[in-house]
């Protein structure tokens, strides 16, 4: 370990807490030092726990139990005042909860026939413009967009053609929400398909196949013109797509990296710097990456059509925290470098990444 190595960002383990259930998702409560863990209790019910960071430990503030195990949650579509949590559960229900009064959901709908694998929200928390919306992706192969003001039916539904065999949708992400009309949903499926839906024109804008099931998708920012999209997949690969230039046949340019030697479960961009992101792996490791843009982001191909040029990705730091997969990761939007992760070894860990200012 040389001095140069110590100049790189360090992942410092700050606090750790053992849970008595399997946690599938962890999220910071915006504008606070509190975090949320949700998952499945051993007796088959859903559990939601609210913790607060106190000293070097996590103190449990509230525990809420629900009928069905909870798979995913987001604060993305609520206002900063209300901070309602939207969750998807194993029974295919989408619920929005007020954490001060969690007995009755503020909004509830049976979104899908099977488990809701992934959820994302846009338009809330003072980020982005346009109506707050929630998108859910499910094992039944459909991706649905919901508005909390419209009951019972989605405002957009992406489903397979009649008679087509369906593939599980594993992950969804919002993007391109830079004004009130534009919005884009990207969905990743278990057969490696990535599909980009444009909600303004209600059409499929782009699709590709990365040859391995897509575990996690994220745009680097939801509220700007589409810049970068990171997709992680099985077999330890992730792809970074440059979303600024779309070629009519070749689609978006991408660069891919292999790491972790196992499934890459999650990717999350640092809210304070959109070129830094962290990936979590099936072997319990976290890798911190930095994307570097190429000298020219687009070039003309032989027919004169614009084609994007992908940059390069470099590994800043990595750490192995556990032997079990780290299933969920979240950066704190308020404190740069603070992040929380949960793993299948039933622990929730709070980490601090140092020296991010010097990167």
């Amino acid at each position: 370990m040389s001095a140069a190595a110590l100049e790189r960002p360090q992942l410092v383990a700050h606090a750790q807490h053992a849970l008595s259930y399997t946690a599938f998702e962890c999220k910071w409560v915006p504008r606070s030092a509190r975090l949320l863990c949700l998952g499945s209790a051993p007796r088959g019910t859903g559990l939601l726990q609210l913790y607060e960071l106190r000293g070097g430990r996590l103190a449990l503030l509230r525990e809420i139990e629900k009928a069905k195990p909870l798979k995913c949650g987001t604060f993305g579509a609520t206002s900063l005042q209300q901070r309602y949590l939207a969750t998807g559960d194993f029974g295919g229900n989408l619920n929005i909860w007020n954490l001060e009064a969690p007995e009755i959901p503020v909004y509830s709908v049976k979104a899908h026939k099977e488990i809701v694998n992934s959820i994302d929200g846009v338009g809330g928390l003072g980020i982005g413009e346009g109506a707050p919306e929630i998108v859910t992706g499910s094992r039944d192969g459909t991706v649905k967009v919901w508005d909390a003001r419209q009951k019972d039916s989605p405002v957009a539904n992406m489903e397979p053609v009649e008679g087509e065999s369906k593939r599980d949708c594993w992950t969804v992400a919002f993007g391109n929400a830079y004004n009130q009309e534009e919005r884009v949903v990207c969905a990743g499926y278990d057969n490696g398909d990535i599909k980009l839906f444009d909600l303004k024109t209600m059409s499929l804008r782009w699709e590709t196949n990365i040859k391995n099931g897509v575990c996690s998708l994220e745009f680097d920012r939801k509220d700007i013109n589409m810049n970068k999209l990171v997709a992680t997949s099985l077999e330890g690969k992730f792809h970074v797509f440059d979303m600024r230039t779309q070629h009519p046949t070749k689609g978006f340019a991408s660069v891919s990296e292999k790491a972790h030697k196992s499934t890459m479960w999650q990717v999350r961009h640092l809210p304070q710097n959109r070129d830094i992101f962290m990936t979590s792996g099936g072997a319990g490791s976290l890798h911190l990456w930095k994307y570097e843009y190429p000298a020219q982001r687009s070039k003309k191909d032989s027919e004169g059509a614009e084609m994007g040029v992908a940059g390069s990705v470099s590994l800043l730091q990595n750490v192995t925290l556990s032997t079990q997969p780290i299933s969920s990761l979240d950066w704190s939007p308020d404190k740069k470098g603070l992040c929380v992760c949960t793993a299948f070894d039933q622990t929730v860990r709070v980490l601090i990444v140092t020296k991010l200012n010097k990167v």
Partner: protein, 424 residues
Amino acid sequence: MPVWLREYRWRQSAAAVFLSLPLPPRRASAASIFCTEQYLKVSIPPFLFEAVLYAPIDDTSSTAKIENGNIFFTLYKKETGMWDSLMMENANKEKLQYVRENAVLKAQEKAKEEAEAKKVTKREHDKYALEATMKLEEAERKRIENLKEQERQKVTRELELWKNEQTYMEGQMRIQREEKLHQEVEQLKEKKKEKITKPTIPNEGTSKITVKPTKGYPSSNSMFSENLKEEQLPAPRSAGTIKINFTSRVFPTALRESRVAEEEEWLNKQAEARRTINDDLAELKDLKEEEKNPDWLKDKGNKMFATGNYLAAVNAYNLAVRLNNKLPVLYLNRAACHLKLRNLHKAIEDSSKALELLTPPVPDNKNARIKAHVRRGTAFCQLELYAEGLQDYEAALKIDPKNSTIEKDAEKIRCIIQGTSQDL
């Protein structure tokens, strides 16, 4: 028999004996000196000098110096005193022998002891070195740990500060909310009062919204602007559906990069099988049931070979191969037919194919392999490619060294080769 060196000179003092031994010329370097407490031997084959000393000496501190064709010994006596002579008197053979052996034993023991002592010191040195390195590494590790710990503490302190800030801000927000409510209540009261009295300034109602608490926190502004924003949110999107197709796939499982190779192989095999079936189906519809059996066709071919109808035999084998191209015996027999028909290249092809199918080489397919080699060899020779033919015959011989016909044929070929090379 060694040559004894008897010339020597010696003198003594109370504590030491000085012995000078002239060496035979040009032999100085090969001298080997053996000295114990009471026995001194210098051996320069074939010369030998031996002395059983009068009294014991201290052999560790005694020295020997080789100079100018002489060896100078400085022997320190164990007990001071003058010696009557250098060597012991009355030394009979037995005594000499005994002293010699003793001396050797003593020397060996001493050597052993020295080795032991050396080992012990070496061990201690090693241990010391190891401990030293361990300490260094430990120090390094500690240093890094300390750095990390410091970082951790620094970061924890920052976090605490930030957290306190957060709770403070939240408290502030709550207070503001309460204040706002309070103010609104006050204003309502005022308005009521005004209604009772006479409203003098009609604008007062509208100015209510612009009254803000003067504690100018940015969050309070956003609170208000947030309310306004809510009213400006666009209506929910008009519902729409997008129909999607998934990438087509033969297998029901999802695509995985590591499995692609296996899947390709499987698909190829399926395609091949389907192709053969399709070909056969197309042309063999009018064949009888038994004619679709490769074994039956093989037998038919053998019979025709026996009667000398080679072309018909080849046809039978062709059909059999179309039905099942993995039977080596079909190729073997077809090769034999081709030989008879003098289609030598075809014979070589078929024998080669048969040999390919006959891997791995085991005792069971020995006969078949011999036949293949022999047939191919014959074909080569008939094409006058004698070298290749010889290769095949030798391969056949290797499989079965006891076959005399093969040996004879191989000999013949060798002669032919040598004959031709001589001609050249």
